[in-house]
């Protein structure tokens, strides 16, 4: 067995996900150590040029299953299991994101393969791979090895950087996949669209006021908007308040949202769980206001205030306005 297969997620029109490109580049780097080929699998509507363009990020070969729809995991498990088995591939590698988790988990069952998730780094040990995985709210990092091949490695969001190493085009190989019966029993009615239309792009903001459930209700978010506006920034959100319908999806940070690295990230009422942390931990300055002194965000902020955001934020807004005015 040899080589690594990655899955390159796209938006339905062949524009690839940044975390997937990271996985492609990571695979290319790792096969330099363990041997074999870095290959990628794409499904659905991806044209020749788009598929071949994965070569620039390090893929030597791209398997394209045009007959498999993008967006739901199980048909893609069928496709990946087929490619891995027929080509004797040693590892499946996924960039951070929801679909990678689902597909990787399905492959684990299908191939009887070991799996490691939330992986932040992968290293070679001879011709084997070892995955580094933070556990217990990142208080320890375990090295996980694989007893057998194939093995499944699911990255944490932004764990792997995409390179544009100037590699040439990848070889594109079209494959036919016979779907499992149960893989056809879930049907996409409508697939999400990025939802950036008409909104602000929080990824470009220098200052973000991250808002979480601690606000207590949609009606209180004006406090965050006022502070953001005083600081010349925008409001960003946790998944919890997006799911609750307080604020649009386009403002969401983390696992299935955006990744940001502003000069200042001021998090209020945000506990700072891993899913949020992975989307904002590279911010230059992190300030946290939370009434729970055990909130995980206090472990990695630069300035933490244990207190009631409803009391602190309006006064902070006024003070910043006064400072700017004076």
């Amino acid at each position: 067995m040899a080589g690594i297969l990655t899955y390159a997620l796209h938006d339905g029109e062949g524009n690839f996900n940044q975390n997937s490109l990271g996985a492609v580049s990571e695979a290319a780097k790792l096969v330099g150590d363990i041997g074999g080929e870095a290959a990628a699998l794409v499904v659905g509507d991806v044209d020749d040029a788009q598929a071949a363009s994965l070569g620039a990020h390090g893929a030597a070969k791209v398997y394209r299953a045009k007959g498999v729809e993008e967006g739901l995991a199980q048909p893609i498990v069928d496709a990946m299991a087929k490619v891995i088995s027929e080509n004797d591939i040693s590892y499946a590698l996924f960039g951070g994101g929801l679909l990678g988790f689902e597909i990787g988990a399905g492959l684990t069952a299908r191939l009887g393969a070991g799996v490691t998730m939330e992986v932040t780094a992968v290293k070679a040990d001879g011709d084997k791979l070892v995955a580094e995985r933070p556990v217990l709210q990142d208080s320890a990092i375990v090295d996980v090895g694989y007893v057998s091949e194939p093995g499944v490695i699911i990255g944490r969001l932004n764990a792997f950087d995409a390179n544009d190493g100037g590699g040439g085009d990848a070889e594109v190989v079209d494959i036919e996949v016979e779907l499992s019966d149960f893989s056809t029993k879930a049907k996409m009615v409508t697939r999400g669209e990025s939802g950036d239309e008409g909104g602000v792009d929080i990824a470009d903001a220098d200052v973000l006021v991250g808002s979480g459930r601690g606000f207590g209700g949609e009606e209180n978010l004006s406090v965050a908007r006022d502070l953001a506006s005083a600081l010349g920034g925008e409001v960003a959100a946790t998944r919890a308040i997006v799911d609750a319908g307080w604020i649009p999806y386009a403002t969401q940070i983390g696992q299935t949202g955006k990744t940001v690295a502003p000069k200042l990230y001021l998090a209020a009422g945000v506990s700072g769980a891993i899913q949020h942390k992975v989307g904002m931990q590279n911010s230059e300055n992190i300030v946290a206001i939370n009434k729970d002194q055990n909130a995980p965000i206090f472990e990695y902020c630069d300035l933490g205030i244990v207190g009631d955001l409803h009391k602190i934020m309006p006064k902070l807004t006024e003070a910043i306005k006064a400072k700017k005015g004076g």
């Binding site: 929801l98 988990a105 393969a113 996980v144 090895g145 093995g151 879930a186 244990v306």
Partner: protein, 263 residues
């Protein structure tokens, strides 16, 4: 319709968790609780039953774990499950995700559910994978992190957030669904339900009872091995202010921001 809810016993959130350096496993001693994410799965089952969109004959809580895990089942029953099944066997100790998913699938298979519900993640392992592993073994369609679910004409209409926003997906039963915590607000069990929980039927099963092959579970049946445990890279601790006098706190924040030219 028969619904199985997968539940897990996890260390209480307030307990300092650690890894046992000898076994390289999570130290599971100390206070334990029902995984809070799984309570949303039980609540979702109860809402299907009470909403009347489908006739729910039975809600069965299912877990795998040592003897103490029965307490998680008592809580699940107090929240509304009719009975529970506890897969407990020394042979399962040290199972990784691959082995655990296989074992859970075997015990679920013996119950033939129309719907399997579980929380999107466990509070301790921080992994989101078990639902999809179980589904593939059971050859059932599956979706994870679902935040809205309606039963119509024997099908599920689910919403969940993926990389490009909210997807709407229609799924035929039987199916395995992991739910996100936004799907509902779990109820508190009544005192009567808590008192009555231990009287509800609880079946304890060993691996042999549900046809689990011994060489596919436990540490020896696992496909991953923890090779080492290392501390994370050192990070300088941030400054922490307890807000006692808010005016003073605000002054400190403004000074801190000003020093870094952030205003």
């Amino acid at each position: 319709m028969k619904i199985c809810c997968l539940v897990k016993e996890v260390p209480d959130a307030a307990v300092q968790k650690r890894i046992d350096p000898d076994t390289k496993r999570l130290d599971r001693s100390g206070e334990r609780n029902l995984n809070p994410f799984d309570t949303h799965g039980i609540e979702a089952a109860m809402q299907i039953r009470e909403g009347g969109a489908a006739e729910v004959e039975e809600i069965v809580a299912v877990t795998m774990g040592p003897d103490t895990a029965a307490r998680a089942l008592h809580k699940a029953v107090a929240l509304g499950a009719d009975r529970s099944v506890h897969l407990s066997d020394d042979a399962l100790s040290g199972s990784d995700v691959c082995a655990t998913g296989y074992a859970l699938a075997k015990v679920l298979e013996s119950e033939s559910p129309d719907l399997v519900l579980l929380g999107q993640q466990s509070d301790d392992g921080e992994c989101y994978t078990i639902g999809a592993v179980v589904a593939d073994h059971l050859k059932m369609p599956s979706l994870t992190q679902v935040i809205k679910m309606d039963v119509t004409d024997g099908k599920l209409r689910c919403e969940r957030q993926a990389e490009y926003g909210y997807d709407t997906v229609e799924i035929e039963l039987p199916a395995v669904i992991s739910v996100g915590d936004a799907i509902n607000e779990p109820r508190y069990p009544s005192l009567k339900a808590i008192m009555g929980a231990k009287k509800k039927p609880l079946d304890t099963k060993a691996t042999g009872d549900v046809g689990i092959e011994g060489d596919r579970v436990g540490e020896s049946g696992s496909q991953t091995a923890v090779l080492a445990i290392n501390p994370p890279p050192e990070k300088e601790a941030g400054e922490i202010i307890e807000d006692e006098d808010t005016n003073e706190t605000v002054e400190k924040i403004v000074a801190w921001l000003d020093e870094r030219k952030l205003i």
